[in-house]
Amino acid sequence: MRTRWQRIKDSAFLYHFLRDPVAYVSFAILMVLTISAFAAPLIAPHNPYDPTTIDIMDAELPPAWTDEGSRTFVLGTDEMGRDMLSTMLYGMRISIIIGLGAVFLQAFLGIVIGLLSGYIRRLDNILMRIADVQLSFSTYMIAIFIGAIFQTAFGVANYEKIAAPLLILIIGLAEWPQYARTVRASVLAERKKEYVEAARVIGLSKLRIMGRHILPNTLSPVLVISTVQVANAIMSEAALSFLGLGMPLTKPSLGSLITAGFEYIFSGSWWITILPGILLVLLILVINLLGDWVRDYLNPKLYKG
């Protein structure tokens, strides 16, 4: 009996992965970014959330390699005097958490609805029409709507505390139809296969057939869109923050950092907005490259090329 590790080592997945520089370089960068984001409290030189460590006198210091730069702030400081590097790491952590959280919510809703709609034909019409309606609202409309309600309900001060879960909820609600459609399409393909009929002949309940037989076989397209959806969710969050509907400045995400710095770009403090911008683009880029690779790998017709 081969061990699991040997199986992984022999797998075609690893083989193709290690032979595609785009794949492993993207993966390496993504890993470095993610780990440093989540390890931010440990590795960041400063704590941007702790007002006692911030000195307004340090505001708008340029990065260390410029003439006026200071050694203590490698990438300079922002308008409040927070260390850019630390703020960006913490901000990236928030961006990634919101991205992943939103995608989990999307995937959960989408998979459940897609499975029901694909396997129980009576529900199909109604569920897919709901999805259509959902898609016809843009993420921003939902965000403005829900955001406005919550800001008035809880007050702007408390909004800060619930901002992250709220954004997860908004982005998650806005984009589940992508998942529902993908899952439904593969359920429709799978349900015709004979192993599903065999499960019915055994007498298994609908729920069990959906969960144990059909679901595992619909997961590869879900995996493919998930990577893209994480990137999209991070972008949505950044865009919402840019519009002032996202994370507050006291707990900035990459998006709110870019927005905040944008005002200072003309006064010469370009780094406050450009540096988080580059980080955001890099993050989105590697996720998308990796997603493309996974898609090509799982679609052998394209891959053979």
């Binding site: 019409n125 004979e194 065999a198 007498g203």
Partner: protein
């Protein structure tokens, strides 16, 4: 000929499964917008219905093998799936030992699921690709005997695997690690796991190589002997059907043309369609001598009037175009649905 009534249960006590006047149609017209058609200047709603199975009756006796043959699309698989309760029939009935089972709910059907099982055609689609074969075999047993101990479950799975000739040590492998023939064995093992009496096999060897076909057929015949199984065997390979069946049902466009013992059917086919079908079987080293049929099979969406075979039948007469022939019993117990046979204008 006695009229078959869908509401009376079969009388023969050795009849295990009885199919009575079974009708199965598929509505393929889609949503109601797609059903709208402009006709005679008016908008009308029209349904498109595939008449896949139209009034088929077969009594299957315990321990025998009844085969169903016929061209592609004639409704063999639909018949099999309707008997298994995978499709609800439009009308007609299915009996298991005098109990009517076609209208039961899933929960009421549960005890019959252990009695009736199915083996499918495509060895590459009939096993869940994400499940190790051991789990594929454990699942039905656990489902029907939730109280079973883990040791007993293990020996049971090992026993069926051995019975079908798969090494029990391979339980933790995925289906893609097996050859087509081995997968078909595993499919058979899954059907056997719940100790059924009756197995529907829908073209179980069609996707396999000649040298593997013999292995699977031998396995099925051995199992039949060991466990006194009853088979409804669907195939388009007539030489295989001739070899393994006790009785053969010939289908054409959803209708039963002829039902006879394998010996009688292959020695003296009565129905003009059976005659044409049998003459087309390629025989080793014998030159072609098939009866040519003119024309193509009509669509099951618009069935021909009268005898469904009349558009291609070489012996067609006016009565065939008007009147649907019913099954008549011949002296040798064969049953044929043909006016020409009844009135003796079709030679045999």
């Amino acid at each position: 000929m006695t009229a078959i009534n869908a509401n009376t249960s079969p009388d023969g006590s050795d009849v295990l499964v009885s199919i009575r006047d079974l009708v199965k149609h598929f509505d393929i017209s889609g949503s109601w917008i797609e059903q709208l058609k402009l006709q005679d200047g008016r908008l009308q709603r029209k349904k498109t219905v595939v008449q896949a199975v139209n009034g088929i009756s077969i009594d299957i006796r315990e321990g025998e093998t009844v085969s169903v043959v016929g061209e592609s699309g004639c409704g063999k698989s639909t018949l099999a799936r309707t008997v298994m309760g995978l499709y609800p029939p439009e009308s007609g009935a299915v009996f298991y030992r005098e109990k009517r089972i076609d209208h039961l709910s899933e929960a009421q059907l549960k005890p019959y699921r252990t009695r009736m099982q199915m083996v499918f055609q495509d060895p590459y689609a009939s096993l869940n690709p994400r499940m190790v074969v051991g789990e594929t075999l454990r699942e039905p047993i656990r489902f029907h005997q939730p109280a079973i101990g883990s040791r007993e479950l293990k020996t049971k799975v090992a026993t069926v695997m051995e019975q079908v000739g798969i090494d029990p040590d391979w339980q933790n492998r995925y289906p893609h690690e097996f050859s087509g023939g081995q997968r078909q064995r595993i499919s058979i093992a899954r059907a056997l796991a719940v100790d059924p009496k009756f197995i529907v096999a829908d073209e179980p060897i069609a996707a396999l190589d000649v040298s593997i076909q013999a292995q699977i057929l031998n396995l099925m015949m051995d199992l039949q002997e060991q466990r006194n199984l009853t088979y409804l065997f669907i195939s388009h390979d007539l030489s295989v059907v001739e070899h393994i069946s006790d009785r053969v049902a010939v289908m054409y466009l959803g209708a039963l043309c002829e039902l006879a013992s394998a010996e009688n059917l292959f020695a003296s086919p009565r129905h003009p369609y059976t005659q044409a079908l049998l003459s087309a079987i390629p025989r080793l080293g014998r030159p072609f001598s098939h009866k040519k049929l003119s024309g193509d099979i009509p669509s099951p969406i618009r069935l021909p009037s009268g005898c469904v075979f009349h558009t291609r039948c070489p012996y067609v007469r006016e009565r065939c175009r008007q009147e649907v022939p019913t099954l008549i019993s011949l002296p040798d117990n064969s049953r044929v649905a043909c006016h020409g046979v009844e009135e003796k204008w079709v030679p045999n």
